[in-house]
Amino acid sequence: MSSTLLEVKDLQTYFFTDRGTVKAVDGVSFDVEKGETLGIVGESGSGKSVTAASIMQLVPSPPGDIVGGEINFKDENLLDLKMKRIRKIRGNEISMIFQEPMTSLNPVYTIGEQISEVLRLHQGLNKDEALEKSIDMLEKVGIPSPEERVHEHPHQLSGGMRQRVMIAMALACNPELLIADEPTTALDVTIQAQILELMDELRDEFNTSIILITHNLGVIAEVADKVAVMYGGRIVEQTDTVTLYKDPEHPYTAGLIKSIPKIEGSEGKLKPIKGTVPDPLNFPNGCKFANRCNYAEEKCWAEEPDLEEVKPDHYVRCWRWKELDLKNESEVK
C-alpha cells in the first residue's frame, strides 16, 4: 500500500442558519493516497463541495463552521493550524480548481500576472522568472502559443482555455493534492473530455493526488481510482470505481448509475431517481435517503444505518444491502 497523503476523519461541517442547524457534512471519513484520484459524487446539496471547502478551510464563517473531526495532511491536522500556515499550504501544497472558469479568473489582470502571483507568493520568484515559469505552465496545460497568450486578459479566452489556465495556476507550485470542484461542469462535452485527459496526464507527470468532485458519474468513471458517494452530508457508499459500477450496494448509487443517459440499449427512457433532495433541515429521521428509496422499510425510517464494510474496502450505509440485488437491476436498466 502506498502512503496516505490526506486522511479525513469524521469531518463535521455545520451551517448555523436562522432556521436551524444544517449538517452539511456530517461525519465524513476518507483517505487519499499519493498519486491517487478520489471521486466524490453526489447531487447538489449532498455536501461534496462543502467537504472540499473544509479541506481548504474556505468554509464561509459565519454561518459555517467545522465543528468536529480531523483533516490530516501529511503529518499535520489542518484544523489545528494557524491561518498563516494554512495560507502557506494553500496553492503550494494543496490547490483547488473551481467550477466556473468564466468567473474564477480576475478580469483585471492578464493570465500571466495571475499565474505569476502564485509563484511569487509561494516560491519567491522575481517577476521575470515567474513569467517564464508561467509560460512553461501554459505550455504544459496545452495552450497554444503561450508566449502571446500569457499577456492576454481572461475575457479574451474561451471557457476551456480558462479552465486550462486555472489548472496551470493550481499546479504552478507543484502541489501534492489538487481539489477539483466540478471542473468540467461548465464546459462543452468535447472540452470536458480534454480537460479530464489533461488532469490525468498531469497527475501522472507530477504524481499529484486529486480529489475530483462532481455530480457526473461518467466523469468519475473516466479518471477516478476510487469513489465516495455522498448523500445528505454523509458518505453512503465508498469503494473502488470498477466495483462501484459493477456491484453497487446502495440503492442511491444504483439509482445514479441508472440515471446516466445511454445511447445504446432498446429502452429509450431515462430512469431518474424519484423526487428531489429534501430541504437540508428536513431530512428523514432514519436513513436520509428513505423518502426517495424504492426499498425503504419501517426500519429505514426509524433509524439511520452505519457505514458497514461489506467487502474489503467497500463500505455501504444501508440496512438492506444483504437482501437487495441491485447489480442486475442497474445493468438491465
Binding site: 490547490s95 480576475n106 478580469p107 483585471v108 502571483e117 479574451q156 486555472m166 461548465a186
Partner: protein, 304 residues
C-alpha cells in the same frame, strides 16, 4: 446556451484587438463628444493651474501701481493690458482667475485625496469583513451623511478659531468620504462573492493582499467616477464657503473670494463677478461632463 455565448465571445475576440478593459473604456470615452469636451476643459484647467505663474501677467495679490495711496488702475474695464479688467484694488482680474484655478484644483484634489484614503479604507474593511465592523462603519457613514455640510464647515472653522484654505481641505475632506465609502463597501460586498476571490484564497493570498490586489482594482471604475464628480463638488463647495467668508481668505485669489468682494459692485462694475463666476461654471461643468463620460465608459453594462 453557454456554448453560444462562448461562440459569440470568440467572434468578438477575433473582431476586437487584444486589449485590456482600460483600453476598451478609453475607446468608448473617445466616442463620447461631451466627455471629450469635459476632458479638454479639465486639461486646460490643469495646465492653467500648474503654469499659473507663467500664464498670469500680473501679481494676483497686489496691484502693480500705487501712487500717493491712490489706486490708479482701480475698476478698469477689459482692455488689452487687462483682458478681464481690474478690481477695486487695481489687481488684474485675469491673473486672479488664473491663480484661482490653482486653489480650486488644489481643493478638489486634496479633499478627494482625503476622501479616497478614508473612503476606500473604511469601505473596503466594512464590506470585506461584514458583521460588527460593517455595522459600525455604516453607522458612521449615516451620521456623516446626515450632517449639514455648512454646519460641519463652520464647526471646523470654529475649532481652529479662524478660517483658511487649509481648513477647507480638512472640512471638505472629512465630509466627502462617506459617499465613497458607501460605494466601495457595496462593490467589495459583491466582488468578494466572486469566484476569483475564492480562487485567490485557495491559492494562499492573505486578506490584505486580496483586498488590495483583487477587490479594489475591480471596483476602480465607480471609484474613479465618484472622485471625478467629487472634485467638481469640492470646487463648488470651496467657492461657496469662501463666498460666505468661511473658506479661503483674501488676499488669496480664490474664485469664491473674488465673488464675495465683487458683490458690492455687481451693478456698477459686474466684471468682478462675471469672470470668476464663469470660471467656476466652466470648470465644474467640464469636470462633471468628464465624470459622466467616465461613468458611461467604465460601466460594462453600457457596452453597446
Amino acid at each position: 446556451m453557454k456554448a453560444q455565448v462562448e461562440e459569440e465571445q470568440e467572434i468578438k475576440q477575433i473582431s476586437e484587438e487584444a486589449h485590456s478593459p482600460w483600453h476598451e473604456a478609453w475607446k468608448r470615452l473617445k466616442k463620447n463628444k461631451l466627455a471629450m469636451i469635459g476632458l479638454g476643459i479639465t486639461t486646460v484647467l490643469l495646465i492653467v493651474a500648474i503654469f499659473a505663474p507663467i500664464i498670469a501677467p500680473y501679481n494676483p495679490r497686489y496691484a502693480p501701481v500705487i501712487e500717493d495711496g491712490k489706486v490708479e488702475l482701480s475698476l478698469q474695464g477689459p482692455s488689452w493690458a487687462h483682458p478681464f479688467g481690474t478690481d477695486k484694488l487695481g489687481r488684474d482680474i485675469f491673473s486672479r482667475v488664473v491663480y484661482g484655478a490653482r486653489i480650486s484644483l488644489m481643493v478638489g484634489l486634496i479633499t478627494q485625496g482625503i476622501a479616497l484614503v478614508l473612503g476606500i479604507t473604511l469601505g473596503a474593511i466594512a464590506g470585506y469583513y461584514g458583521g460588527l465592523i460593517d455595522e459600525a462603519v455604516s453607522y458612521l457613514i449615516q451620521v456623516f451623511l446626515a450632517f449639514p455640510f455648512i454646519l460641519f464647515a463652520i464647526a471646523i472653522m470654529a475649532v481652529f478659531s479662524e478660517p483658511g484654505v487649509d481648513k477647507v481641505f480638512l472640512a471638505l475632506g472629512l465630509i466627502s468620504w462617506p459617499p465613497l465609502a458607501r460605494i466601495v463597501r457595496g462593490q467589495v460586498m459583491s466582488i468578494k462573492e466572486e469566484e476569483y476571490i475564492e480562487a485567490a484564497q485557495s491559492l494562499g493570498a492573505s486578506d490584505f493582499r486580496i483586498i488590495v490586489k483583487h477587490v479594489i482594482p475591480n471596483s476602480l471604475a465607480p471609484i474613479i467616477v465618484t472622485v471625478t464628480l467629487g472634485v467638481a463638488g469640492a470646487i463648488l463647495a470651496e467657492a461657496g464657503l469662501s463666498f460666505l467668508g468661511l473658506g479661503t481668505q483674501p488676499p488669496r485669489p480664490s474664485w469664491g473670494v473674488m465673488l464675495k468682494t465683487g458683490q458690492e459692485y455687481i451693478r456698477s462694475y459686474p466684471y468682478m463677478i462675471w469672470f470668476p463666476g464663469l470660471a467656476i461654471m466652466i470648470a465644474v461643468m467640464g469636470i462633471n461632463l468628464l465624470g459622466d463620460g467616465l461613468r458611461d465608459a467604465l460601466d460594462p453594462k453600457m457596452k453597446d
